[in-house]
């Protein structure tokens, strides 16, 4: 298939259990003809086994034995589909108990969030929580799908009330572009095809919206951030001291001859050659994976960062972050964690919890203690060696980090520099 604009849109679906996420994705895949005949037969077979006459759309996405037996989604699943306009990657996140951490996982790489609202219940706590996380993670676009319109007779008034309610609440959030679509995922109204039962809705159905929504390119062209993954020393070169620094550009446009600074050492040089794999390039940009050679021989190792000399990130040992605790075990007081930011790994200690966000009211609680699973807090971290960071709102890659428990090797927290 030839794709018109050749672009990739990554989106996440969020909403409460039973708000119809899996049904919506099933409908999107089914109506856009992205379901193959044998998958359909398989789903019909399981639907029958479960005693359903109609095909159960959720079975297209819920793949684990426990999932289709219990009818819940256990873990993030990624789904793919392509239309003549675009290629899509869906992160289907569970709305269940572990909501916050799963949503963090799916949302961290998304360009767009679909927020499902059950029209019968309106803007609930869960809607607010998901919208807040989407805003916190700086997902640039959101589509609020007011679902199950069939259960309120496709009423425009009920829809309008919920849209207004959402708009009042979301004025406090920082999502650039929020759109609303009334739909019935179960019956297929306004998912792929425009509904004939809601003529009052003048907008596009969901799929068309996904196809045309501008993908926000948040690449800051001026801020070159090149975190070093590893160093190559090709043995077949005449000059044995010849080194290539490889990595993926986090942001910016880098050209041959650019004056650069290596951090944290602060040494400077110029870009001599740039390779995109085996191609010699004059100019490269994020998010390309590249390798470069410099005019001077400088000691550079994994975790260092190459930047343009006229635009540097902050070099810090004490930072404030918004942190989401992901693990079932609570944080241990004064414990040290491995901290990973780009390719840099150091150790860190959680020095102070400044406040916890009450996810129900979005109020700040300054009296809180401890970090438990799904808590979102502003904390101060002290790091053993300096990190090169930007604010998350300015750079999603150099502004994000994770904490790893040194005794279990588990990823326990995700955080964003504020």
């Amino acid at each position: 298939m030839k794709i018109d604009n050749n672009q990739l849109l990554r989106f996440i679906t969020s909403g409460n259990v039973d708000d119809g996420k899996s049904t919506l994705i099933g409908r999107l895949l089914y109506d856009s003809k992205s379901i193959y005949e044998d998958q359909l037969q398989n789903v019909k077979r399981i639907s029958k086994r479960k005693g359903n006459d109609e095909i159960d759309l959720t079975l297209f996405t819920d793949g684990l034995r426990d999932e289709w037996e219990q009818g819940i989604t256990i873990d993030v699943a990624y789904q793919y589909f392509t239309t003549p306009k675009r290629k899509f990657i869906i992160a289907d996140t569970p709305g269940h108990v572990q909501y916050t951490r799963n949503m963090f996982t799916g949302a961290s790489t998304a360009n767009l969030a679909i927020i499902l609202v059950d029209v019968r219940y309106g803007v609930t706590e869960q809607t607010k929580r998901h919208s807040f996380i989407a805003s916190l993670l700086k997902i640039p676009n959101a589509i609020v799908c007011i679902n199950k319109m069939d259960l309120v007779n496709f009423s425009k008034d009920v829809y309008d009330t919920i849209v207004n309610e959402f708009k009042i609440f979301s004025s406090k959030l920082s999502i650039n572009d929020i759109r609303f679509i009334p739909m019935s995922a179960l019956l297929g109204d306004n998912v792929v095809d425009k509904s004939s039962r809601m003529e009052w809705y003048k907008g596009d159905p969901l799929l068309h919206t996904l196809e045309i929504i501008p993908i926000n390119n948040d690449i800051n062209e001026a801020s070159v951030r090149f975190p070093i993954q590893t160093i190559l020393r090709p043995q077949n070169e005449v000059d044995q001291d010849y080194r290539r620094y490889v990595g993926r550009l986090a942001s910016g446009v880098l050209r041959k001859g650019d004056e650069i600074t290596v951090l944290p050492s602060g040494l400077t040089s110029k870009v001599k050659t740039i390779y995109k794999y085996d191609k010699d390039m004059q100019e490269v940009f994020a998010p390309m994976s590249i390798s470069i050679a410099l005019e001077d021989n400088i000691d550079i190792s994994r975790g260092d960062m190459i930047v343009k000399s006229n635009n540097k990130p902050n070099i810090v040992q004490d930072i404030e972050v918004m942190l989401c605790w992901l693990h079932t075990d609570a944080a241990k007081p004064r414990a040290k964690y491995f901290i990973k930011q780009t390719t840099n790994e150091q150790k860190a200690i959680i020095k102070e919890i400044i406040y916890k966000i009450d996810i129900k009211t979005l109020e700040k609680d300054y009296e809180c203690e401890g970090l438990k699973m799904n808590d979102i807090c502003k904390v101060k971290l002290k790091i053993t060696k300096p990190l090169m960071v930007d604010l998350y709102k300015e750079n999603r890659i150099t502004g994000s980090l994770i904490l790893i428990d040194e005794t279990t090797n588990e990823t326990v927290a995700a955080a964003m520099v504020v």
Binding site: I3, N6, Q7, L8, Y36, E37, Q39, N42, I46, T61, D62, G63, L64, R65, I74, D75, V76, A77, Y78, Q79, Y80, T82, K87, I89, R101, N102, F104, T105, S108, T109, N217, I219, E221, Q229, T230, L232, Q235, R244, V246, G247, R248, V253, Y275, Y277, D278, F285, P287, M288, S289, R302, F338, K340, T343, R396, S400, I402, I404, N409, T411, A414
Partner: protein, 301 residues
């Protein structure tokens, strides 16, 4: 449109190469699991690019069921020679001879599941802490749940309920002695992306992917290649058909499709109209509703 924008194939390529480089940087002894199929060929191609102008730093690991297409082995050996890399072969036959695995019986017997023992033994013997594979999330619903960096305990088991969260593009490969990771750089690619990329990059693939006159039998709703490893029953007849394969695996379970596509361009056209999944012709997935999940939990690739 902004000129600093990657098209989707370039974005997928850049992501895969980033992950291959992370695997190299984070593990002591990473290898590529190589089956001779298009996905592992693609991963090897990407790995070569990722480390250019150095030599690709991964050994290739082939789990040999003993039931191979001869073309696959030839292709593998040629590739090894041209890349100048090390090849590690794990033999299912040896696992059977040593009593570590037991051959299945009956008409539908295959050595597919037996690969698990051979693979895990091989990982242990060679102290492999990272096995890079060409699995894609679009292949199968259980694979849709995979992380890029997928942790395996010291029994080689995958636990879908206890996967590490994976955020942004920060990958946590920390592990204890004896544990290992499976790393899947082309997780986000679909079958169509793989073919479009093979076409764009002009990557060489085994002739089995192209339509040809082949001897086959009709079994389990697909054309299974006739070979010495097939147990025929009275009702089955060997016929010659114009066949190509969409996936390559153990010769006893790889179903071919009737097709006229004998070039990559024709394959791309065919895939865009085809109504069955790639694995729809794999007998190993038809055994039960959760066949792949059950195998993966035990350590299957």
């Amino acid at each position: 449109m902004n000129k600093y924008y990657l098209n989707y194939l370039d974005e997928l390529e850049s992501e895969a190469i980033f992950i291959l480089r992370e695997a190299w940087a984070q593990f002591e002894n990473p290898v590529i699991l190589f089956s001779g199929g298009k996905d592992s060929i693609l991963v090897t191609h990407l790995a070569r690019k990722a480390f250019y102008p150095s030599k690709m730093p991964f050994a290739l690991v082939h789990v040999d069921t003993g039931h191979n297409f001869p073309e696959t082995i030839q292709f593998r050996d040629n590739l090894i020679e041209s890349l100048g890399v090390h090849l590690i072969v794990g033999s299912v036959q040896k696992s059977i001879d040593r009593g570590r695995a037991v051959e299945e019986k009956g008409k539908h017997s295959t050595r597919n599941a037996l690969q698990i023992v051979t693979l895990l033994d091989l990982i242990e013997e060679n102290k492999i802490d990272c096995a890079i594979g060409g699995a894609r999330r679009d292949e199968e619903k259980v694979r849709a749940k995979e992380r890029f960096f997928s942790h395996r305990d010291d029994f080689g088991q995958w636990n879908p309920k206890n996967q590490r969260p994976e955020l942004w593009n920060i990958f946590n490969g920390r592990h204890f002695e004896g544990e290992h990771f499976r790393v899947f750089p082309i997780s986000n690619w679909t079958e169509m992306d793989v073919w479009n990329y093979i076409k764009r990059e002009n990557i060489e693939i085994p002739s089995l992917y192209f339509s040809h006159q082949r001897k086959v039998i009709w079994r389990n709703n697909s054309w299974i290649p006739f070979s010495e490893h097939i147990n025929l029953d009275a009702s089955e007849e060997v016929v010659t058909k114009q066949i190509r394969f969409r996936t390559l695996g153990d010769i006893t379970i790889t179903g071919g499709i009737e097709s006229e596509a004998d070039t990559v361009t024709k394959i791309v056209d065919e895939i865009s109209t085809i109504r069955f999944t790639e694995r729809g012709n794999r007998a190993d997935d038809k055994r039960s509703l959760t066949a792949m999940e059950d195998r993966k939990r035990q350590g299957y690739f």
